[in-house]
Assembly symmetry: C2
Amino acid sequence: MPRQRHRSPGFALLLTAAIVTLAVVGAAHLAAQPAGDEAPTVMPRYDANGALHLPDDYLRWTFVGASLGLSYNDEPPQRESFNHTLMEPTAYDHFVRTGEFREGTMLALLVRSTEADAMPARHGRFASDVLAVELAVKDKERVEAGWAYYDFRGGANALTTAQPQPPGNRCYACHIDHAARDNVFLQFYPLLADAAGLTVD
Amino acid sequence: MPRQRHRSPGFALLLTAAIVTLAVVGAAHLAAQPAGDEAPTVMPRYDANGALHLPDDYLRWTFVGASLGLSYNDEPPQRESFNHTLMEPTAYDHFVRTGEFREGTMLALLVRSTEADAMPARHGRFASDVLAVELAVKDKERVEAGWAYYDFRGGANALTTAQPQPPGNRCYACHIDHAARDNVFLQFYPLLADAAGLTVD
């Protein structure tokens, strides 16, 4: 039986090592990629000075809200802009599952110019250039209210890192006063509320 | 030197086995997940009657375009709606890389009602209920022009499968006549054109 000749203690050791290694590598792989659709949790990244990095892939985040000409001031805006809100996908999945914005949740607001007169459209406006990018990030270690707001501006003034708005900034009070859920204006995001099975009054 | 005592032939074999196994498992992992951001290609699914399934996850697709009140008719629309265009992410990645819509590319158009009067907004409108969902799918085997159009309607009439619009439908001629690129109205999607480094005249 020629095969038996290979069954030396060395071969047994090799086999055991291979099985143990497979098990260890397999376990590490499962830990990095949770079961089902769930991707590894994505968290905000800060530089040594505590400035938030604008994530490279934020334009691929999940679309949750849209408006035109939305303004919180008494006077109507001089020029209407489109606002589009995107949410980091792993935080989105968590919200859809639990109805909660977990620590590290990031929402991006794109402020965009309007454009018209492109065929075949004979009426209406579509969203064009990104004028400004703002992020809202849930991070209790930075801000007592739980959320901090960052302005990355746009165009020639666009930033890749930004410090949080200072505590006196009106973003904070307005979000605390008016947000339908945990400092987030869920009242403007029916797609997001629906996806989590929530009703906003 | 106590450490040297462990360097037996058995240990060397174990170490070799572990390294080989790691290499094999690592290679298998790379094969299942292509390099970079690239995920496995997602394609449209049809039922036995040739109807297209509305993908479960289309609300998670990549956001590429937005408009309000866009109409292709001479008369202005009686009621303005928001239109939001989402693109299946693996086809989006392909387009960003190559500037081409590959076979199987899927674009979803959400037609949505407008809503106002939700604090803190004092002006403007935001997108609310999804009134209709339409898909454009590149599939040369089905349609000579390369793209087919599907109407999944919305609300109480929402469908989960749909047949392509018949060949005489005005979608086809209008897209052929006016699309900036390969039957797609890229002129309304500056974010998508920018991401692929394209300029639309």
